[in-house]
Every structure is written in structure tokens, then in C-alpha cells.
Symmetry: C2
Subunit: 362 residues, 2 copies
């Protein structure tokens, strides 16, 4: 158990008048106990109490043998009433904080067993602690992004006419492995030509043809921490339209990064990018949030979007990824990860964002 992280979570619980909290997200449990367990569809929760007399309890199927320190293990098997076992430990007369990612079937079962007097979304108690990284975590994020920068450069230099998106994907995966990454943080997106107009494109056997634009959205993990970056390259002199759209996205990315400062609200950062794209007439083709928080998970709680009005604080890490998608034609997205600092932000990706024409041959 990471004691400082636990104390930070307990403080957040007290601020919210919560005395008991169920944590179920594997990454949140990992964040607190230091061990990653993937129970699949099986039940797993860490029950936290603000009372100093009650130690944290991990309810875990006996299939998963772990021995974290500072936490009581309550093992169960498939035929046990594990929800009843939880309800025996909670105070039925008090509210219970619930992890936003607990399966609803388990929550309904706890409600049927009258585990608490009310059920509240308790995830912010953990998420708001996870949102502010320690220097150790920041260093791991920088290293993961260094690997990602190197991989992006190698991917860019590997472009050949006739190669398919899936072939370039394989080069990216092999590069991560060769450079010592532990895993990918999400399957790489490799989009050639008109495929880049779909922000969630699935890599295909489409070959690279002369003049295609190339969008690469890639990320790896190192020491449990994720990276995530997007660049859009040209393989020929851009048309006037391509140049205009590209520069709009680049300006949106840079405007948002320049705007970031302690106390800026996430919605304001989003607007700093979105207003550029709106003024350029492409508001409707920027179909997603500006960014997402990142850490142990690629997508952590917190969006850079109109829906979040938090003022940002030093140690927060998120993506800045404006995009414009012209269906059937082409798409541009430029994404960096940034760390909020006392003086603004530190951009932890360093691959050039100027228009880059990659010479390609067969």
C-alpha cells in the first residue's frame, strides 16, 4: 500500500463527508496497492474507511494470489456471495462511495443487500488524487514520451510507397519492443489518405499511394506509465486546402499550449484551441474534446472540454489534440502531452509540428 496516496484519498473522502469508499478500477487499485490485477468479469474491490481503526480490505477471487502489505485480503470463490461479504463490512447507516467503473450489476446487488444508506459517485476521491502526478510519476511519463518520440521518427522514416497501414503498424510495434517499451498504451492508429478523416480508424491493408497524407496516433507504456502522440505528415507538396487546414490545427494546438497556466480552466483551454478552428470555419469538423488526462491509464478522469471547469494545477498531465476531419478527403490531428507547471506547461513530446514532407519511394 502506498501510504501517502492512501492518505490523500482519505482526505478527499473527508472533504466529501464520505466514511467508506469502494474502489474497483484495476488501475486505481494498482495506484494504491502497487500491484496490477485484472480480474476480467469477476468481482474485485478495495474498500477504504476514513476510520483509522479499520484497515483497507481487498475483496478478491482466490484465483489471484497477491500479498500486498497494509491491506486485509478477503478471498472468495465463484460460488460465494461476495456482495454479501462486502455488505457485512460496510456500515448500512452511512453513505457508501462507489467507483464510477464498478459494474452496475454489482451496485444493484449491494443495494439489494442494503450495504449503505445511499450510494454516491466516490470516484473523484481517487481520480482527483491520481490527476496530480508526483515528480516520480512525471519522470516516468517523460520517459514513455521519449520512447514515443523516437518511435514516431522511425515510423515517419519507414514510409514507403505501396506499404499498407498494417505493415507500418507492425514496424511501430516492433520499434516499441526494440526500444524497450513494456507495452502499447493503445493499438496504434495508422491512417493513409482519406482514412485519416475517421478519428477512430481501424488499420487496413490500404497501401500508401503517392501524395497521401499520413496520420499516426501512437502510444507506449514504460514502467506502468503511458504515452500518446499524434502527428500528420505529407508525402508530397500539400495543396492549398491541405496547407490551410494543417496550419489551422497546428495553430489550435499551439494556442492551447501557450494558454495553459495555473488556474486556467479546462474548458478555457479547450476554447483556446476550438476558437481558432471555429474562426477558420471548421468547427463542425472538430468532433471531439481537445484532450484527456493520462497516467497509468491512457484515458484517465478529466477531459479538456467544455464539460470540465476545473482550474488546472501543477502536476496535471493531459493531451492537447485538436483535429479537423474532412470525410472522404483527409484529416489532420496534432497531439502532444503536456505537464502543467508553475510557469505554464512543459510539452513532453518533441517531434516537429511544422509541415513535414516525407520523401517516399517504393
Amino acid at each position: 500500500m502506498y501510504q501517502q496516496r492512501l492518505q490523500n484519498v482519505l482526505s478527499k473522502m473527508k472533504e466529501q463527508n464520505l466514511t467508506q469508499l469502494l474502489v474497483s478500477e484495476p488501475s486505481s487499485i494498482q495506484y494504491l496497492i502497487g500491484t496490477r490485477i485484472e480480474p476480467g468479469e469477476r468481482f474485485m474491490v478495495l474498500l477504504l474507511f476514513t476510520s483509522p481503526e479499520k484497515e483497507p480490505l481487498l475483496f478478491l477471487h482466490r484465483l489471484f494470489p497477491v500479498t500486498p502489505t497494509g491491506v486485509g485480503i478477503i478471498g472468495f470463490s465463484d460460488a460465494d456471495d461476495y456482495l454479501g461479504m462486502v455488505a457485512r463490512e460496510t456500515d448500512p447507516h452511512l453513505p457508501l462511495g462507489i467507483d464510477k467503473h464498478l459494474f452496475a450489476g454489482f451496485l444493484i446487488g449491494l443495494m439489494e443487500r442494503r450495504a449503505a444508506s445511499a450510494y454516491l459517485n466516490g470516484s473523484p476521491c481517487v481520480d482527483m488524487v491520481r490527476a496530480i502526478k508526483t515528480e516520480d510519476e512525471l519522470q516516468k511519463l517523460r520517459i514513455a514520451s521519449q520512447l514515443n518520440d523516437q518511435t514516431m521518427e522511425i515510423a515517419k522514416n519507414s514510409l514507403r510507397l505501396g506499404m499498407t497501414e498494417k505493415e507500418l503498424e507492425k514496424i511501430i510495434l516492433d520499434t516499441y519492443q526494440a526500444l524497450g517499451a513494456d507495452d502499447i498504451s493503445f493499438p496504434p492508429i495508422v491512417a493513409f489518405g482519406e482514412n485519416a478523416a475517421d478519428p477512430h480508424h481501424e488499420n487496413s491493408n490500404r497501401p500508401l499511394t503517392a501524395g497521401d497524407m499520413v496520420l499516426l496516433d501512437i502510444g507506449c507504456k514504460k514502467d506502468d506509465y503511458c504515452s500518446d502522440m499524434t502527428r500528420t505528415f505529407f508525402t508530397a507538396e500539400p495543396t492549398a486546402e491541405q496547407r490551410r487546414v494543417y496550419e489551422l490545427v497546428r495553430q489550435a494546438n499551439q494556442n492551447a499550449e501557450a494558454f495553459i497556466h495555473v488556474g486556467a480552466r479546462l474548458c478555457e483551454i479547450d476554447e483556446a484551441a476550438r476558437s481558432v478552428i471555429r474562426d477558420g470555419g471548421h468547427d463542425k469538423e472538430f468532433t471531439h474534446r481537445l484532450g484527456h488526462f493520462i497516467g497509468i491509464d491512457t484515458h484517465e478522469y478529466g477531459d479538456v472540454s467544455a464539460a470540465y471547469d476545473w482550474p488546472v494545477q501543477p502536476g496535471m498531465v493531459f493531451s492537447i489534440e485538436p483535429g479537423i476531419y474532412l470525410e472522404g478527403n483527409f484529416g489532420v490531428r496534432i497531439e502532444d502531452l503536456v505537464i502543467v507547471t508553475e510557469n505554464g506547461c512543459e510539452v513532453i513530446n518533441h517531434v516537429a509540428k511544422e509541415i513535414t514532407i516525407v520523401p517516399v519511394s517504393s
Copy 2:
């Protein structure tokens, strides 16, 4: 929209006095609309009504462009109050069935918006329809298991002294691809020697050494349907203890398969295997359920365990996978998929279960 599947779900809803149901599992939505959408952490639900005047509604982020027939699409963006949009379509004076895998954060948000008078686990309305496969689905399951049988034989014949678990894993993955499988249904488990004593072993760089037992738990997908099989091989003449444990597991597997008949309860099928292992003195080392349902997902709703008393019906498909795990020493698991038929069951895996000694050299 698959109309017959929808009608079957609506019938189940009527049996449970449910007029409105939220389906959120991507595989259940795929089962009904015919398209797989993976929204990640984003909200996605299919809202079904028993009233013939109200068409099904799919609430979906605008990032995911799909055009299924027979369903209304309600698109939203990251900054919209999508839970409020759902609450505007539900009847607040009636109970709402909830998908067991909906995230609790969304359920709590619907409760705050008073979307319904009560919230019940509505998953059985879909799960019990999915549990009984049509002949078309059974044929796809047989084909996926044929590919799995072929791959198991190739894996067995690829065993070499000094090769690592990860190397054999790569052979298995390459074989699936070469045989035309679409994907794996789960990462293959390759366990040499004492590693087989961990039922959820993660493949390592441990090399195969003379005399090791080899446990392979593998599965692929073909045309959306999954396979899943385990075999345990010897690389030398088994010791008396290894032989005794192996034969106990084999007897448990065969006893359960022979016992299956229309009307047999899942808990009774579990007991048909478990009693054999208990009589052999290894009850405590058989640490999991006997089996799980399978179809579009590797693990579908329904366990062959003491916790489920359903009588089985023709068209149900599940695994029969007894195991004995002797920590630090060795483990044995033997798993087949079976289809319940009018006359008993059809075992759709055909790799031999007799003690098999694979001759290995470097």
C-alpha cells in the same frame, strides 16, 4: 437490427414486467444491431421498449458513425448531458432494466436525474436469449473450435527443448493467422512445468526443460464467435503422481460431459466433475468454476458452478474445464467446449485427452 433476437429479448422483458431496458455491453449491442462498436470509456446504450410504438434508441457519441437499420440514433458530443438525454426518453414512473455491465457512475447519474422509479438488473433479458444459440451460431462456434483444434496440434508438435513460453505463444498466434482466424479470443496461456500450477499464468521467458509438463489454454475467433480449449501434455514418461492427478482431471472432465442432459442443472454438472476430484483428495486444488458460457464473448453470462441452478437446454454452449493446481510443482487442466443437444451434448473439441507424451529435442 436482428428482429427475431429483439423479439426474444422483448418477450423476456414482458416476463419480468419490464417495459424499458438499457443495454450497454458492446457484445450485447452487437448481438442485437449486428455492428460492433467499442466506445472505450465513453457512454453508449441501446434503450429498448416493449411498447410497439417506441423504436429502439441507440445513444452514441458522434465519433462513431454507424447506420444500423430499425434503430433510432441519438448522437451526442463530449460536452452534452447524455444521461439527461436518456432520462428524457425513459418513463420516470416505471422501473428501468439496467445492463449489469453499465458503469456505476452512469447508473448513479441516471438515478440523480430520476430516469425511472426503480433500477433492476435487466441483463438476464438479453443474456438468457444469448445463452441459447441458433443453428447458425452453433456452426460458427464449431468452425472456430476446428481452427483451435488444428492450432493445438501444431503447437504440440512445435515443442522443442529450450524454447520459451513466449516463443511458443508466438507460434500459436502465427498459426491462428495462417489458418484464417480473425482474432484471438484471449491471450493464449502457455505454461511450462511449475508455471502450470497458476491457472492465470502470464507467459514468460522460461525455457522448456526435459521432463516438463506443458499446459496450453488457447482460443481464437472466427466470424465473431469464440473458441477456448485447454490441454496438458507430457514431455517425458509421467511420474506416478503426475499420472494419478492427470487421470483424475480427465475423469472429472469426462464424467461431467457424460452427465450433461436436457434439464440437468449447471450446479449438478459442476458437481459431476468436482466429486471426482474431491474423492481423489484434491478438492482444495480445484480453485475455480467448472466452466463458463461462450459465444460472441469468451466469457458469457452463466457459470457451470454451484452458484447457478439453471436446467440446461439444447443450444447452450459452455466450457468443461476441471483443473488441479499443485503450487510450485505442476498443474493439469483439460477443457472442451460442449453444445447441449436433445440427446446429451456434442463436444466440439477433438484433440485427444489421453495421456500424451510429446517427444522433444533441441
